[in-house]
């Protein structure tokens, strides 16, 4: 098999029963790209990551990182990646530098100069005991551990959780720099601004299934437009409702609001001849697109 994918899954499934889990995940993340993995709570993001990390075992299917089987070649896989977990481990009374030393040694040693650079960028004091760190500082320590060995792949589960805006920006800069150096980044998040900042492509997972993979540009193209039209005279309401791509039509006095998906042409054809006083189109953010995606087919989120 040609190794052009950093991450590749084939029918990857983890079934917890009662419809909970991850089902038939077919995913490919190319080397050098920053891939955003989006989904609501309980959709299966962390399950996917834990399967890639070999922390849990799939019921069927396969997952590979740089052509290495995530389960059978787990140790070799770990040499290729840096990881930020979704929950903080509890290192108790160990100081930050001690955590770096003992986990860093497991990965083949510690470049003290690089650690110092990372800590200065993230403003992290390694002399403090882990239990005395704030939530944000614990997260920074996990980021330091992930970037420690400059791995070719970063798997980051909610990486900016607890970080203040300045440190979030610094993190985004670090991710861009890593990408520029050829590092692949798999970033799981429910914060859409985070995805918009750094990702090349986005996968959306819902209830254990991958529902969409697209570039940010593609997602922008397919997203809906919120249109508001003000009429001087009678509203061609029935024809507007029947126009292709138009939905959620509401009327208030002489104003009409609707949602347009795809091309504007059908709506404009209907409006020809109508007395339109004002027309505005509001381009939604990725967040609205994302929420719309989940609102389109309401379903209970599946806890994974």
């Amino acid at each position: 098999m040609k190794v052009t994918s950093a991450i590749r899954t084939e029918k990857l499934t983890k079934d917890y029963g009662s419809g909970r889990g991850l089902f038939d995940l077919d995913l490919e993340v190319a080397e050098g790209e920053v891939f955003g993995y989006l989904g609501p709570n309980g959709a299966g993001k962390s399950t996917t990551i834990r399967l890639l990390m070999g922390l849990i075992h799939p019921n069927r299917g396969a997952a590979e990182i740089f052509g290495l089987d995530c389960r059978r070649q787990a140790v070799e896989v770990k040499r290729q990646l840096g990881y930020v977990p979704g929950e903080h481990p509890d290192f108790g009374g160990l100081r930050g530098r001690e955590v770096v030393a003992y986990l860093g040694a497991m990965g083949g040693g510690v470049d003290q100069a690089w650690v110092k650079t990372l800590c200065e960028r993230l403003k992290l004091d390694l002399s403090q005991r882990f239990r005395d760190y704030s939530s944000g500082n614990k997260q920074k320590l996990l980021l330091v551990l992930a970037f420690l060995h400059k791995p070719p792949l970063l798997i980051l589960d909610e990486p900016t959780s607890g970080l203040d805006p300045l440190n979030q920006q610094e993190f985004y800069t670090m991710v861009r720099e890593a990408r520029d150096q050829g590092t692949t980044v798999f970033l799981s998040s429910h914060i859409l601004s985070e995805v918009e900042h750094v990702c090349d492509r986005v996968g959306i997972i819902r209830a254990g299934s991958l529902v969409r993979v697209a570039s940010l540009a593609e997602l922008h193209d397919i997203r809906l437009h919120r249109v508001e039209i003000e009429f001087a005279g009678e509203l061609p309401l029935d024809r507007i409702r029947a126009a292709e791509g138009v939905s959620d039509v509401t009327v208030e006095d002489h104003s009409l609001r609707c949602i347009v998906r795809g091309s504007f042409a059908p709506l404009l054809a209907v409006l020809a001849g109508a007395q339109v006083v004002n027309l505005s189109s509001h381009e939604p953010t990725l967040e609205e697109t994302f929420l719309e995606y989940y609102a389109a087919e309401p379903k209970e989120p599946v806890a994974c």
Binding site: L55, A74, K78, F91, E98, A101, A105, S127, R131, L145
Partner: protein, 536 residues
């Protein structure tokens, strides 16, 4: 909320309750076999046990009413429960006061409009309910053990249950109160341990030192000892009950005031912050090496156990003269010191000190396993496995670090034994001490291996399972022969597999059995670790 509070204490309640139930049941069931049925047999039993008890005052209260089953159970079972309760009170009190803060539970409770005072009251009430279940189980075990032998009036039993319950709550309250001072759960555990063990040892000293009788009333263990309502002719110690209630209420009120005053996750009295020093270096190189890094992380635990083992070695050997003389004075107890012809001091050290060393090292093994289970539940194991580490290597590293720590502790204990023996003019053969020391290693590793298997399979239950195994193994060895259990069942006890290496050489069958358990246990742990899924 009480139900939720009980849930927080459920494992302690069930575990210690089970220990209390089995202890009182077993001692009651063993009474007839030990004491005999005729008045003459009973009289001899009373005489010998009273003499022996004087030498065991560090462990048991002075006995009364040994001519009755109730009196014997009061002494032998209820009398040892305070030492068990110390461990529960330390764990529960420090956990309730500080552990829940570190888990951010207290923040969420206070955010839901629960006041600090109500929180304290709720925690006391919840533990009180759990302690009542434990005490009731001790009472139930007493009835079961006495069934068919002696009728124990319910009101006497209720009085004894009340006494134990108050002692448990008072100990919890004291630990909860002192836990307000330091800023961490670990600090709370240390302070709680120092306080409760200090009060316990004060009472131990007062048992044989009349001059300490009066000041000993500050110790809740003293007024617990003073009560004997369970035994025929005994009375409910109203002064002790009142003192217990006062201790409980005072500790709750003072703890509440302290909790109101301090910051969450902060000490009661915050020292002025010192100017920060540049601390860019100073990481121990041990953290970079397998096994060494495990030992480094456990260093304080190992040091604490080392201090305990050394102290106990000096104490137990130090009192050898008194105990040996007492046992030699009673023909029926001469056999405790080994086969005929054995040097009695050698027999004493083999039986008493190395018996205690076994218990201490088993306790250390449980503590180490608790650390492994904690690593799992706190996400540290996941963090290690996110590095290029093989799962079997984690089990291997744990096993080897356990071996190293146990060897160090065993050697330390034996060195202290030799020194203490020399100080009292007793000569021990080094080869025998070496054998006895060496056999402690597979003995303790047997429990560590069982714990490794349990923590690899079900980390949350590992400590409970292992603790039960240690307790069951001890009871099997102590009471199995007395109760006439089948030989194959008695021989299952790990304590018996140790044998008596100082007196009779290495018990090879026992050694091979222990080593087999170690190999199978760690092997199974490895397989389970390979297969299991990590929840964090």
């Amino acid at each position: 909320m009480l139900r939720y509070g009980l849930r927080l204490h459920r494992w302690g309640m069930l575990g210690f309750g089970l220990v209390a139930f089995l202890s009182t049941t077993a001692q009651g069931a063993a009474y007839l076999k030990l004491a005999g049925s005729t008045p003459a047999e009973r009289a001899l039993f009373v005489k010998t046990m009273t003499a022996l008890a004087l030498q065991l005052s560090y462990f048991l209260p002075l006995p009364r009413h040994l001519d009755s089953l109730a009196g014997y159970v009061l002494w032998r079972a209820w009398g040892t429960l305070p030492l068990v309760i110390v461990f529960w009170a330390i764990a529960a009190g420090s956990g309730a006061a500080r552990g829940d803060e570190e888990k951010l539970l207290v923040e969420s409770w206070l955010a839901s409009r629960l006041s600090r005072a109500r929180l304290v009251a709720w925690r006391f009430a919840a533990f009180g309910a759990a302690a009542l279940v434990m005490a009731a189980l001790a009472g139930g075990g007493t009835l079961v053990g006495a069934a068919g032998v002696e009728t124990i009036p319910i009101e006497r039993l209720a009085g004894q249950v009340l006494t134990l319950w108050l002692l448990t709550l008072a100990c919890f309250g004291l630990v909860y109160l002192v836990s307000q001072f330091p800023g961490s759960k670990r600090g709370a555990q240390v302070l709680g341990t120092v306080l409760l063990l200090g009060l316990y040892l004060f009472q131990v000293a007062a048992r044989t030192q009349p001059s300490l009788e009066d000041p000993a009333w500050i110790s809740p263990f003293h007024w617990y000892d003073a009560g004997d309502v369970l035994a025929p002719g005994g009375t409910l110690n109203l002064t002790g009950i009142a003192l217990g209630a006062v201790t409980l209420v005072a500790s709750a009120v003072l703890a509440c005031l302290a909790f109101e005053r301090r910051d969450l996750r902060g000490p009661l009295f915050r020292l002025r912050a010192r100017a920060s020093r540049a601390r860019q270096g100073g990481t121990s190189p041990l953290l970079g090496w397998p096994v060494a890094r495990e030992l480094y992380r456990q260093r304080w635990i190992v040091l604490a156990w080392a201090a305990g083992i050394a102290g106990m070695a000096f104490l137990m050997v130090g009192i050898a003269h008194g105990t040996v003389n007492a046992l030699l004075a009673l023909p029926g107890l001469r056999g405790f010191l080994g086969p005929t012809g054995t040097d009695p001091y050698r027999g004493y050290i083999a039986l008493i000190w190395f018996g205690i060393a076994q218990a201490l090292l088993a306790g250390f093994a449980v503590h180490v396993v608790a650390g492994w289970a904690g690593d799992d539940s706190q996400g540290v194991l996941s963090a290690e496995l996110s590095r290029p580490r093989r799962r079997w290597a984690i089990v291997a590293e744990r096993a080897i670090s356990a071996v190293v720590a146990i060897v160090l502790l065993a050697i330390l204990g034996s060195i202290c034994t030799l020194i203490a023996a020399q100080q009292i003019g007793v000569t021990l053969d080094s080869a025998g001490v070496f054998r006895a020391t060496a056999m402690l290693v597979p003995f303790a590793l047997t429990f560590a291996a069982a714990g490794a298997m349990a923590s690899s399979w079900w980390p949350r239950a590992a400590i409970g399972v292992l603790g039960l195994l240690v307790f069951a193994s001890y009871m099997d060895s102590a009471l199995g022969p007395v109760l006439g259990w089948p030989a194959w069942l008695v021989n299952l006890s790990v304590f018996l597999l140790y044998g008596s290496p100082l007196l009779t050489g290495i018990y090879w069958n026992g050694l091979w059995a222990m080593l087999a358990v170690v190999v199978v246990g760690f092997g199974a742990a490895t397989l389970l670790m390979e297969r299991r899924e990590l929840s964090r």
